[in-house]
Symmetry: C2
């Protein structure tokens, strides 16, 4: 009999609530013969305040033993900006070499979008997850004085760029439209931009069926609101990916339904799945959070582990649920989770 | 009698066409006693191909003598990405210390937006223009090999951040709503982010009437499409400003109407005014380009030089023209320019 050994990190704010629903749906959808084991970890603001720790070597060793990680949200106004982000979220992405940050955007029927008309949106962003301006390189001199200088160094390697570009080409190749857009700012960030562009063009030769285009990140924000149907697969740098995936989420149903995977394709380390949204402390504990993004992250997790049929069942359940929402009174976090659980089981 | 000594840089693609209309409107709106002198410069792709030059020291010395600069667009597919951007556009912004990059966004009545509903959009972005990831710092080692490493260094100084933040506070103070948002990514780019945040909070103490907020750049893209009415004045870093002003232009009528000023508030160097759009080589020479963004850039130029009433007349003419467009057949570049000329003169 098979097993799925899952690390669960509810985290802060609404994290606890949405993860509970994600686990409900996961239990309901898994085949009978798969033994689900979960272990909960207490990372986040509470642990930081209690111990000063965000993520220790021992934590990393414990997490490494799992097949995958499900995360709710990390972040709280009581912790200075950057401490949990750099000390936990990014530390984990870097330690486990989560270089493929996968963020699908699909506007499902019946779902509201801030865009006029009825745009067709169905693309996936492959965001690099371990390089670029996210490395934490840089520093500050003369801090707090009028002569302060602060730098941030974006580090880009052929190794790091090629592996994520290759992953994106393979994904584009596997989709019906077979289109891949590279998004960067190679007319200004010429060192990194040329590396990205050269590697992209080189790898493109191995994928003659994939139609490619290059787009500056500023122009890409325009296309995301005026012609989102243009996109199929996007590959981009860590920071540009951060920015455009929030915009992509906003136009394709909101961050209440945006899922993501921090993937280590080699399997050397467990991959981590999380909603794109944050901990939303303003609505925490009130049962108001939409667990759909977490449930869709569970689908990404299942697909990553080879449970394709189960992932599809979750996605179908979410589509059906969203299609019926218009005009209905708002439901609580657990009501939505229950509805999805019934659908995937039935 | 007064004079206005203007450097005109039509540039590439549609630049020539839109600048011609901008000058028409400028001539029509200027008071009789102001002597307008213009000198045209041939920067751009043609000059680069002919001479290999983009912007020489002699060019800078010549440009420095003008009261202001009007630019159409620079950029052509025949020139490798980055050559004209770094060699002309950015070189000029840096040489003339254009640290206030001003980009207003106003959705005028009757103008189409990709957003649903009827959003009220009226804000201005103060984008830093001489620092951040735009400095060209960084480099490449082992170019073209599998061991290539390319870096980009974002350089941020207290001096550079404070002057632009101060400018933004003054602008917010002068507007009815008196709101200022700082946009950055201080939870990840902690060195630069903390400098920006600390300086912002310090200067805020001098402007107690201004309501402030901080927003991560990724979240800002969401608000720009879901709650654009939230914004009044935004101050941000060079790269974030580049990205969000294209998005802002897209939601508030498109880049056909987005104007910008590259301003040196001290007056030590002439400021430069240009449409946000590029050279659009695909429609160049066909009379299809909308000159409105250039005409509105002329209004910014006039206001910068103290011709407030004339700037307002241009803006009113544009509002009236845009309000009457719906349902009418498309006009040519010069037809739109002529219509605006009649309006400002009348
Ligand atoms: C919280 C933050 C570190 C993170 C990021 O910038 O990657 C978040 O915005 C995201 O997109 O997952
Ligand atoms: C062409 C390019 C150098 C420029 C920039 O990135 O600043 C443009 O996008 C702009 O916004 O003016």
């Amino acid at each position: 009999s098979r097993s799925l050994n899952l690390a669960v990190i509810p985290g802060d704010g609404i994290g606890q609530e949405v993860v509970a629903e994600g686990l409900k749906v996961l239990s309901a959808v898994l085949p009978q013969d798969v033994k689900l084991e979960t272990k909960e970890y207490d990372f986040g603001a509470k642990r930081y305040h209690a111990t000063g720790e965000t993520l220790t070597d021992a934590d990393l060793a414990a997490l490494k033993k799992h097949d995958a990680i499900l995360l709710g949200a990390i972040g709280d106004p009581s912790v200075p900006s950057g401490v949990l982000e750099r000390g936990f979220l990014l530390k984990l992405r870097f330690a486990f070499d989560h270089h493929v940050n996968l963020r699908p955007s699909k506007l499902l029927p019946g779902v509201a979008t801030p865009l006029a008309g009825e745009p067709r949106i169905d693309f996936v962003v492959v965001r690099e997850g371990t390089e670029g301006p996210y490395t934490g390189n840089g520093g500050t001199i003369r801090k707090g004085t009028e002569h302060e200088v602060a730098t941030e160094v974006s580090v880009n390697t052929a190794y790091g760029v090629e592996r994520v570009v290759r992953d994106a080409f393979a994904r584009a190749q596997a989709r019906p439209r077979k289109k891949l857009a590279l998004i960067h700012k190679n007319n200004v960030l010429t060192f990194a931009g040329h590396l990205w562009t050269d590697v992209f063009n080189k790898v493109a030769e191995e994928f003659p069926e994939v139609t490619t285009e290059y787009m500056h990140v500023d122009a890409a924000t325009i296309y995301l609101v005026t012609q989102p149907e243009r996109f199929d697969v996007i590959v981009t740098d860590n920071l540009f990916g951060d920015i455009i995936t929030d915009l992509a989420a906003a136009v394709s149903g909101g961050i209440g339904v945006a899922a993501s995977g921090n993937i280590n394709p080699s399997g050397e380390f467990p991959s981590m799945f999380e909603p794109v949204h944050g901990s939303a402390p303003d609505i925490a504990g009130q049962g108001k959070a939409d667990p759909t993004a977490t449930v869709l992250s569970v689908a990404l997790l299942l697909r990553h582990l080879g449970y394709d049929a189960e992932a599809a069942r979750i996605e179908d359940a979410v589509s059906a649920d969203l299609a019926e929402r218009t005009g209905k009174p708002a439901r609580s976090t657990s009501q939505i989770g229950d509805a999805l659980t019934v659908r995937v089981a039935g």
